[in-house]
């Protein structure tokens, strides 16, 4: 096992719609090392969603090579792709995508139900541990409807972590959250990254991207910019600052969204 989690080699993706074909990706070369925290940026239509689908093994490239954790993706069939997603990738979606009327614990347990390697025995204990990692140990039996947006997203992150994947792939994870909760979620991602988890974050918000270590900008199906983040921000610190502001100005608006216990847990994780 080497240091490289993702290596793509001239990946292209072409969609045929009727007579004209759409070139969503026109040759992407991207290498992601273990422990990196990358923000993939781009406008809508830039191809970043397609890239994310390909990186997440939800879609296969039209041409080019894709190697994830030493596995050649382009040679795999549908079932092998499913197993690969289960083992190597943790997904975090914009809309949380939790199962409604299903407890946080069962939501987090879900990927383990589809584990065929047999290495995940005690799925319940693993799910509880994952929820503990995102600071929701006290919300194990809550249903998504009983949780705030930030908490729901943290359940989703726990679900992504529970299989101990090589890569966490987050697609606009803050898209449905207010700015304060967004920072909270980014603080969690930063904390997890500190613990050695490789994260690829797809976003169109520069405000969010500054919490990553490296920015890859996609435009017209090609990588236009690939550089380390200058002026990287620490989400935990930003959170502490906004908290002061909140106390003074807009307590009544944003206070119900966040439970103080959760905020402390996140801040504690970073420290």
């Amino acid at each position: 096992m080497n240091d490289v989690v993702i290596q793509t080699n001239a990946i292209t993706k072409t969609y045929e719609s009727g007579s004209n074909s759409v070139h969503a990706l026109r040759g992407i070369d991207l290498t992601v090392h273990r422990g990196e925290f990358i923000a993939v940026m781009g406008q809508s239509g830039s191809g970043k969603s397609t890239l994310m689908n390909v990186l997440g093994c939800l879609d296969t490239p039209t041409s080019g090579n894709y190697l994830i954790d030493d596995v050649h993706v382009e040679t795999l069939n549908k079932n092998e792709l499913a197993a690969l997603r289960n083992e190597k990738i943790g997904f975090v979606f914009q809309g949380f995508n939790l199962l409604a009327r299903t407890s946080a614990l069962e939501n987090v347990e879900l990927p383990l139900l589809y584990d065929r390697s047999g290495r995940k025995r005690d799925s319940r204990a693993m799910a509880i541990a994952a929820l503990g990692r995102v600071g929701l140990a006290d919300r194990v039996n809550h249903q998504p409807s009983e949780l705030s947006g930030g908490q729901q997203q943290r359940v989703a992150i726990a679900r992504a972590l529970v299989t101990e994947p090589a890569l966490v792939l987050a697609d606009e994870p803050t898209g449905n959250l207010d700015s304060r909760t967004s920072i909270e979620v980014m603080a969690l991602f930063q904390a997890l990254n500190e613990q050695g988890i490789t994260i690829v974050l797809v976003t169109h918000e520069p405000d969010v991207a500054v919490y990553a270590k490296r920015i890859v900008e996609v435009r017209d199906g090609r990588i236009r910019r690939d550089e380390p983040v200058k002026n990287r921000r620490n989400a935990a610190e930003d959170l502490a600052n906004t908290e002061v502001l909140d106390d003074d100005d807009v307590t009544s608006v944003s206070a119900p969204v966040i439970t103080p216990a959760a905020a402390v847990a996140v801040a504690g994780g970073v420290a």
Partner: protein, 405 residues
């Protein structure tokens, strides 16, 4: 995934949509209940007929002349020999398992009494007849061994005959004329009611078989011998024994076919009951149409459910479920729905049959076999009608499913 997990998932999904699941299952419930009630009524009729046949006598064996029912080919004139009184005597003397035996010499004749006349069956029988048929007299007594030995002209009347010939007076001790021969009435039988075939078993006169063959029909050959085995278990042994003895009596050698037929009571009962089976099948077939409609209901709801839960399917596929996992999940869900519906339908059918039986007086019989079949069948309905929606779910593209609003 483990089966338990799948069933748990299915139950969760059903619980999340209680009302809808209940309405969906209603189709299956009604279907299964209808089948159960129909079959229960049919089986009830069957067992009633069997009971009537059993009413004929105790552990009865019936020997009739002629080739066995399965042999259609003519055996030739001589081989088509019939039973004789000698056969009956031989069985009586030599058989171990036969406790009672009586030839039945049957004719139909006009009977004349002072107050009226009536045409009825005259059965010449032995004294064992009342044991075999389990038929006692209500007035007077059955004729005795002496009457048989000496061929006395004595008669025992069935209840119907007694009422027809002696509407106003006591028949015992009076005389009737059967054909040209005067007979003294010694007894009247207790009423037995209708036979399984719907004829009146009390429309009969019993006389000693010796008298019947010498004075009435003039035939030495007899149309039927009836016998009783000691117990239900002895019936097969008794049948074999009787067969061997009659073959010996008829001097049949190894290769010859039987020139007579032996049937026991159970076989007679089965033959009579088989006609009701056709009716039962027909009713069950009609009832099972509603089961089919219920199945279509399941399919419809599963299709709606798959569309509704497209996102859920997308999530499952994204986090590593295979198409087959999703297929199994939805299939198990529809099977569970079918089986639960079947179980409730079984209960409703059970109660329905009892209620129906209570109000109509029909006997209803619910066999365990039909219970298992109906549950199994409703599960099969779940598989059959759940497969298409489940396959549709499994074929979804995870990217599109995740984006589905």
């Amino acid at each position: 995934m483990k089966l338990m997990t799948l069933v748990k998932l299915a139950l969760q999904a059903i619980r999340k949509n209680k009302m809808r699941a209940t309405l969906t299952m209603l189709g299956i419930i009604i279907g299964v209940a209808a089948v159960i009630v129909m079959v229960a009524v049919g089986y009830g009729a069957r067992s009633r007929i069997k009971e009537q046949i059993n009413n004929l006598g105790t552990n009865m064996i019936v020997i009739t002349p002629g080739a066995s029912a399965t042999g259609g080919v003519s055996q030739g004139a001589q081989a088509f020999a019939t039973l004789t009184v000698d056969d009956a005597t031989k069985i009586r003397n030599e058989a171990q398992y036969v406790t009672a035996i009586s030839p039945v010499v049957a004719t139909r004749m006009q009977v004349v009494a002072p107050q009226g006349n009536w045409r009825t069956s005259i059965n010449g029988v032995d004294i064992d007849y009342q044991t075999i048929r389990n038929w006692t007299t209500s007035d007077g007594a059955f004729f005795g061994p002496d009457d048989v030995r000496s061929a006395h002209t004595v008669a025992v009347l069935g209840r119907t005959v007694a009422q027809r010939l002696f509407p106003n007076s006591e028949p015992v001790g009076q005389e009737v004329q059967i054909g040209k021969v005067p007979f003294t009435i010694v007894g009247v039988l207790v009423p037995k009611g209708q036979t399984a075939a719907g004829t009146d078993s009390d429309d009969v006169i019993l006389v000693p078989y010796t008298t019947a063959s010498s004075r009435l029909s003039g035939r030495a050959r007899i149309p039927q011998i009836i016998a009783s085995a000691a117990s239900q278990q002895d019936i097969p042994a008794a049948q074999d024994e009787v067969r061997a003895l009659v073959r010996e009596s008829h001097k049949l050698t190894q290769g010859d076919d039987d020139d007579f037929t032996i049937k026991n009571q159970n076989e007679l009962a089965d033959a009579a009951a088989s006609s009701t089976d056709v009716m039962t099948m027909l009713m069950a077939a009609i009832a099972s149409i509603s089961l089919l409609v219920g199945g279509i209901g399941i399919m419809n709801i599963m299709l709606v459910s798959v569309t509704e839960r497209t996102r859920e399917i997308g999530i499952r596929l994204a986090i590593g479920a295979r198409g087959s996992d999703v297929l199994t999940q939805f299939l198990v869900e529809s099977i569970v729905m079918g089986v639960i519906g079947g179980a409730i339908g079984l209960l409703v059918g059970f109660i329905g049959a009892k209620v129906l039986g209570h109000f109509t007086g029909w006997e209803t019989v619910i066999s365990p076999v039909i219970m298992i079949i109906s549950i199994g069948f409703s599960g099969a309905v779940g598989v059959f009608f759940g497969f298409y929606p489940a396959r549709k779910a499994a074929a979804l593209n995870p990217i599109q499913a995740l984006r589905y609003e």
